[in-house]
Amino acid sequence: MNNDHIIKCKEVMNHICDTLGEDLNSPTCTSIKKHLDNCPSCQKYYNSISQTIQIYKKYEVKITSETHLKLLDFLGLDDCE
């Protein structure tokens, strides 16, 4: 891996952080996609960023029925239950 490649990977990784979930059709994005197809290291980085988002999406803190009732009581809507 020469220095030129290292710089490119860093740029790609930065770009992944910037644009995940955005429109990927600009000329820069097209070359990023091309790089991703051929670079296992950047693919791993892309996957781990994407997994980070998915993991936090799945992780939900549930409201308890006690908290729900407290809320309705606070708002004076407990009779609407």
Partner: protein, 188 residues
Amino acid sequence: MNENEIIEKAQKGDRAALSKLIKMYEQTVYNFAFKICRDKEKAEHTMQETFLSMVKSINQFSGKSKLSTWLYTVVSNHCLMMVRSNKKHAYTSLDDDDALIDEKNISDWSITPDKITENSELSEILDKAIDKLPPDYRIVFMLRDIQGLSTEETGKAINLTVPAVKSRLHRARAFLRNELNKSFSYEQ
């Protein structure tokens, strides 16, 4: 009855319709508030204040944006007020872009998102990581990546420019990824 019809009823003073709107959004608002405030009581308080704002201002809701987007704006600002009043917590600085992306630290992960549910050890890892993320970054990550607001909507909700949203999102993603990498990487 669809959401707009329920909102119209609530605007006419129908309390059952208001209660229905609260039921529709309380889980989302509570989950959001908990992830930002990192405390059950503070999350409850923030949720109560958010819905109180909704009850008071439902008549002014014009329907130009989604009710959910409007609620995220309100809950975000309540959360920011809450966490900024607690200055005891010292957060990691995210100013150094070079340190955030370390190319030597790239590996496959031994976890997939579907393994997250109901695993307390994993929940603890996720809690610890997001706890270290400064609230100003946490809120951008939550609005943009978890709740799915656009970059523009996120900026409007918390009064940030689009470049500022992008910069904070970039750093939040890289920071959380690095924190989780310590636990989920094959090569640890």
